[in-house]
């Protein structure tokens, strides 16, 4: 087990290092601005006094390195400084929105993951049949459609033509859990469609890959019934690729959420990022980018570690 722990620790360290480099990238990209944040936010009409006042407020008069260290130190404790436009703490702007986004992503994942894995396995078993062909075309179409296309189609059919669900996913504090589920059903369904297609294709590919291995053929040749081949021989080895597929697609979910939130006017962190980009509110852009990138790296790390932990060859080193 010592080797395994070492391997996992090494991955963790590597993920942390990546996050550090990414934070440097996100922070110093803003330094590429012609002028600085204060000039960019206030625009050309600003008087030198207001620019100087904003510089003072954002602490821009100190060297970038010192500001970076402070920013990172604050970020670790959940303090991302103050918004350049409204002057509120950034955390106040995006804190609850991040929770909303996580809720939406979790809602979509709870539906999509079991659905995609079961369908993926069925399609892999029925490969080259008509069902498989149809599934192939359907998933390719879903992957190829921009999220806003799927979102607006769902609005058109399930909110306008047949008014089953609300088209705009506005939230308020006093809604019951089921009301919440109903309000956010369409954005969640959009995400489900995209992610299911990705996950199904990846599950199908990894199961087919597995079924081509010699020990499966051996099991078949010695007369093991087909369901037993799957349950006894294929599945134990399939967990590693399936966990990998799930984690990678959850990472995808986190970014796909931006467009979906804009389509359904959902009060999430993606919407906040897009608003901040159009207002050139850089502290919020940086904070939201760091949160997105951090989640993305974390899920990719989970995929790696999951693959290590479920790989029998790595668990029992020779």
């Amino acid at each position: 087990m010592g080797d395994l722990a070492q391997l996992v620790l090494k991955r963790l360290g590597y993920g942390l290092l990546t996050l550090l480099v990414v934070s440097i990238l996100i922070f110093f990209a803003v330094e590429l601005l012609p002028g600085d944040v204060a000039e960019a936010v206030l625009g050309q009409g600003a008087t030198p006094e207001t620019v100087a006042a904003m510089r003072e407020q954002l602490g821009l008069d100190r060297p970038a390195i010192i500001r970076y260290v402070e920013w990172l130190g604050g970020a670790v404790t959940g303090d991302f400084g103050i918004s350049a436009v409204s002057g509120d703490p950034v955390m106040q702007v995006i804190g609850t929105r991040f929770v909303n986004t996580l809720f939406l992503a979790a809602y979509a994942a709870v539906i999509a993951v079991p659905f995609a894995i079961v369908l993926g396995i069925i399609v892999a078993l029925l490969r080259n049949s008509v069902f498989d062909r149809v599934a192939n075309v359907a998933t390719l179409t879903s992957i190829s459609s921009p999220e806003f296309f799927l979102g607006y189609i769902l609005i058109l059919f399930l909110a306008v033509k047949v008014p089953l669900f609300p088209a705009i996913a506005s939230l308020s504090g006093d809604m019951s859990f089921f009301q919440l589920l109903e309000r956010t059903f369409l954005p969640a369904l959009t995400l489900v469609l995209v992610v299911t297609a990705h996950m199904m294709r990846m599950t199908r590919a990894s199961i087919i890959n597995l079924l081509a291995s010699p020990y499966i053929e051996m099991a078949r040749l010695k007369g093991v019934p087909p369901w037993k081949v799957i349950v006894r021989h294929a599945l134990p080895n399939a967990w590693a690729p399936i966990i990998n597929v799930v984690a990678l697609n959850l990472a995808y979910l986190i970014t796909g959420v931006v467009l979906v939130e804009v389509v359904f006017v959902y009060p999430g962190i993606g919407q906040a990022l897009v608003d901040a980009v159009s207002k050139r509110d850089f502290p919020v852009v940086q904070a939201a980018s760091l949160i997105f990138a951090g989640t993305f790296i974390l899920l990719n790390l989970a995929a790696d570690i999951g693959a290590i932990l479920t790989n029998p060859r790595l668990r029992h080193p020779k």
């Binding site: 990546t18 990414v22 990238l25 601005l33 190829s144 459609s145 058109l156 931006v258 897009v274 852009v285």
Partner: protein, 354 residues
């Protein structure tokens, strides 16, 4: 029961009987299954549901016939060795090629095809469709049909340039890394890791909010974001070739790195790279469409499919499908490229999946 419903079931039953008699088992099963499903559908949804199925089937059949004819046409005009490969293409792949061909024609000859200019205001805001304006007018009174045609030039052109940029950057870095090896290889690998560890849309939003949204900035930013994918693939493919004996021989002859890349490695790695180009185009195209949907793409008055969806999105709440057309144009091109790539990957991998 109307004439339509009678005709619908009559057609399906006669078709399944004929197919059963001729002995096309697979087709018979499909048509008869459709008949049985239609019984349920007819009871639940009535005539409109059956009409929807009929229209869907007719569209599908027309698409299949066009793709088949287009494939036969291509087989006739290309050289025999390519024609042999082409003959094995499934209908989805030939459909993809047909759509790509159509888009290319639309994009290249946009000013000739479009009845009006892309920025020309010709009617009132949201004017309905008439014989002059096939799809009506947008929020400023510009012809939607003309703007969609111009969009084929602007949006697809931008995506194509960005893809080529990403490809040149990634492939060059990958080939150099494979040939040079050592610290350069490791360093480039790490750079690719870092770029890939930031979600592409987020990275693009960050960079475009800082650098502005001129088309060159979009091209460069998107090319940098998507080059690591190409880098990894090229590095892997070239890495397998670099260890071959003929590379060793060329090195002993005293050939330089550039010669090795150009004359020995590239010709042996084209097949996976072409397929990757198609895939890469899909990613880039969807990213650019997403960015322009968010208002960070080509700036007005240039017609751009993503921003056209956003500008007219309010129409959807009135049940009007106009805003969906540019979105559908994006989806159709992406799915077509994916169909072609799917076939190419299947062919080059030699996977029969049995």
């Amino acid at each position: 029961m109307g004439i339509f419903v009678l005709g619908y079931y009559g057609f399906l039953i006669i078709a399944s009987v004929i197919l059963a008699y001729v002995g096309w088992r697979k087709w018979f099963l499909m048509v008869f299954a459709l008949t049985l499903v239609s019984f349920v559908l007819g009871i639940v949804g009535g005539a409109p549901a059956l009409r929807f199925v009929a229209i869907f089937a007719i569209v599908l059949a027309v698409a299949a016939m066009v793709s088949f004819a287009f494939k036969e046409f291509l087989v006739q005009i290309v050289r025999p060795n390519i024609a042999k490969e082409l003959r094995t293409a499934p209908l989805t792949a030939s459909f993809g090629m047909f759509v790509i061909f159509t888009y290319a024609i639309g994009g290249i000859f946009a000013p000739l095809i479009a009845p009006y200019g892309q920025a020309e205001v010709i009617a009132g805001a949201f004017a309905p469709a008439d014989s002059d304006m096939l799809l009506g007018a947008d929020q400023l009174g510009r012809d939607v049909f003309s703007r969609i045609i111009y969009g084929a030039r602007n949006t697809v052109g931008l995506a194509l340039i960005a893809t080529i940029g990403a490809f040149v950057l990634g492939a060059l870095a990958g080939l150099l890394a494979a040939v040079k090896g050592g610290w350069f290889d490791t360093f480039m690998g790490r750079v690719a890791d870092v770029i890939m560890s930031i979600p592409s849309l987020i990275f693009a939003l960050l960079m475009l909010s800082i650098l502005g949204t001129s088309s060159w900035v979009i091209v460069v930013v998107v090319a940098i974001i998507y080059s690591p994918r190409v880098f990894r693939l090229t590095r892997a493919v070239a890495g397998n070739i670099v260890v071959m004996d003929y590379i060793e021989a060329a090195k002993l002859r005293g050939e330089g790195d550039w010669y090795l890349i150009r004359r020995e490695i590239l010709p042996n790695s084209t097949a996976p790279l072409i397929a990757e180009f198609g895939l890469e185009f899909c990613f880039v195209f969807l990213l650019i469409a997403g960015l322009s949907f968010l208002g960070l793409g080509l700036q007005p008055p240039i017609a751009d499919w993503g921003s056209m969806v956003r500008e007219n999105a309010t129409l959807i709440s009135f049940g009007d499908i106009t805003p969906l057309i540019p979105a559908a144009a994006i989806a159709l091109l992406t799915v077509s490229v994916n169909f072609v790539v799917d076939w190419m990957l299947h062919r080059s991998s030699g996977l029969k999946e049995n």
